[in-house]
């Protein structure tokens, strides 16, 4: 997994509630058997018209957000389907973190497994960040996973919570299958005593 320590980047505001994984990566792209290349299809039905031309109203198509790498979203981001293609698409497009008041559980978990950092902040703070990224020219955010903070150059500096185990995995780029395999003896013993 890709490590995450500190990161500075441009946020793009999509401060809408309940953006589901069907929007993040529509179903017509799920037949691909690769893990890469999904960025081209991120938010496809919102980004492109039915004839495939870019929809100029859509936030990621606006020149000022062209290199955005932090998504600022509304409550319950990533609800719905378990498709891991959603974090794959976000990462492949260039996002390294998503800031929202809350996430769908499966999406949150899938993101952590891929080095995409999901950050929960209270709704007014997320609203402020969304507003700043819209209003302030060349606005950037710095995410520091060591200190668990999000800051900007205009006085914003807020802490966020993440469970310590996930934080260590992200900081060190650990493979959680390898970590579980360290408990091989416990798994075998469990199978033996429970007759599995």
């Amino acid at each position: 997994m890709q490590k995450f320590t500190t990161f500075t980047g441009k946020p793009a505001p999509m401060f809408e509630p309940n953006i589901d994984t069907d929007q993040i990566i529509p179903k017509q792209f799920l037949t691909r058997i690769e893990r890469t290349g999904f960025g081209a299809f991120l938010f496809y039905d919102w980004r492109f018209g039915s004839n495939g031309t870019p929809n100029t109203d859509f936030v990621l198509n606006q020149p000022r957000y062209s290199n955005a790498s932090i998504l600022v979203a509304g409550m319950n981001f990533g609800c719905g389907s378990s498709r891991e293609h959603a974090p794959w698409a976000l990462l492949d497009y260039g996002f390294r973190a998503v800031i929202a008041p809350g996430f769908g559980d499966i999406f949150y978990n899938n993101s952590l497994k891929n080095g995409l950092l999901p950050i929960r902040l209270d709704e007014p703070t997320v609203a402020t960040i969304a507003e700043n990224s819209h209003r302030v020219a060349e606005y950037t955010l710095t995410i520091n996973l060591e200190s668990k903070t999000v800051s900007d150059e205009h006085g914003l500096n807020v802490g966020f919570d993440i469970d310590e185990f996930s934080r260590q995995c992200l900081l060190n780029g650990l493979d959680d299958i390898a970590l579980t395999i360290q408990h091989e003896a416990a798994i075998t013993a469990f199978e033996a005593r429970s007759g599995r």
Partner: protein, 468 residues
Amino acid sequence: MKTLYDKIWDRHLVHSEAGKPSLIYIDLHLIHEVTTPQAFEGLRLAGRKVRRPDLTFGTVDHAIPTKNRDLPFNDPIAAQQVETLRENCREFGIPLYDMDRIEQGIIHVFGPEQGLTHPGMTIVCGDSHTSTHGAFGALAHGIGTSEVEHVFATQCLQQVRSKNFRINVDGELPFGVTAKDVILGIINEIGMNGATGHVIEYSGSTIRDLSMEGRMTVCNMSIECGAKAGLIAPDPKTFEYIEGRQFAPNGEAWDAAVENWKVLSTDADAIFDRSVDIDATSLEPFVTWGTSPDLSVKVTGSVPDLSEARDENEVKSYERSYRYMGIEPSQKIDEIAVDRAFIGSCTNSRIEDLREAAKVARGYSVSDRVNAMVVPGSMQIKKQAEDEGLAKIFTDAGFEWRDAGCSMCLGMNEDILAEGERCASTSNRNFEGRQGRGGRTHLVSPSMAAAAAIAGHFVDVREWRFKE
């Protein structure tokens, strides 16, 4: 003083230590073509094997066609994905119930139908509707592809314990009100993220009185209010459903299994982090009107206006939904015309669902303005429906009668809505574009979908004139 969830958790705890997620053993891993290819590839790259291929079962459902299956797929990429699953199952020794098998079906129909789903099990699948299996008192939830790979390699998952949420539904369901309406009513009440971080246990007389298939419909949509899983304590109805199925224990093993399952219930003094009570006698058939499953109203009602939104986020959802769905606030539900009807999906494609829909369809014809299809949940259900004469009722009425698969629930194959088409659907999600780009989905029960197909608009199925 433990909940059913706590008890299943404790029975599966392999390892725990402070400050880390626990290692939980997985009893049954169900797989399909869409969320596994990258997991198998990960195993190969790391030189790992599938630890317990004997606890892993596969079928094909999401991307396969539901007609003309003797011909090559029209979609070469979908064909390659299915072929990849075949090769992977061969390489890693996993049984696959492919399109030529009577057992083939939607993964969450397949598991219970073959007797693989048992009370007290932990069950995972790379699909969010894995919560369906909770109807048997199994702890079942969807996982992403990284976790699919994790289960392949270790037969375990790293898990953090969820909170306990009890939803108690009491009272007799009125005529024409189904399990689908119970769960749509619950989601409407608690909201789309109302159960995030929780495992729901459904209890109460209404839940006890539901058939196993009705219970599966309820648990299936637990994810639509954000729950990790939904559970119903097993009872004699559960055991009766399982007994005699292909993978059910038999003989002495059956008796031992039932003894073991009987103790699976929440202790009387167990504490839930949250509880909600629902009065079943107040429920009516529900119809969703927006682009999330919580935006529903009773069939006798109207599309709500902005003054009924509970907060700022709901105002945004309402406004977006009016626009996308092409409907107006205060519009009467029974005046909304439909172009398509879809009866199917892991929510509502079982034999009882088809019987309910056929009861409505008997002796009628699908409206000239509607294209309607019935997609059974498995090939076994398809055969049973043909044997019972249900298929003939549907085809006589002008419904298309298809082979088993996920079909238009998520439109990964050719079964999709055209831009602007409006569909009465028995599936589980009404998200934008879910059934096809620009398509407009209204979630309803099977009898409501059949009635809308015939009338050409939503109608209150409680006033239906049934024909013999």
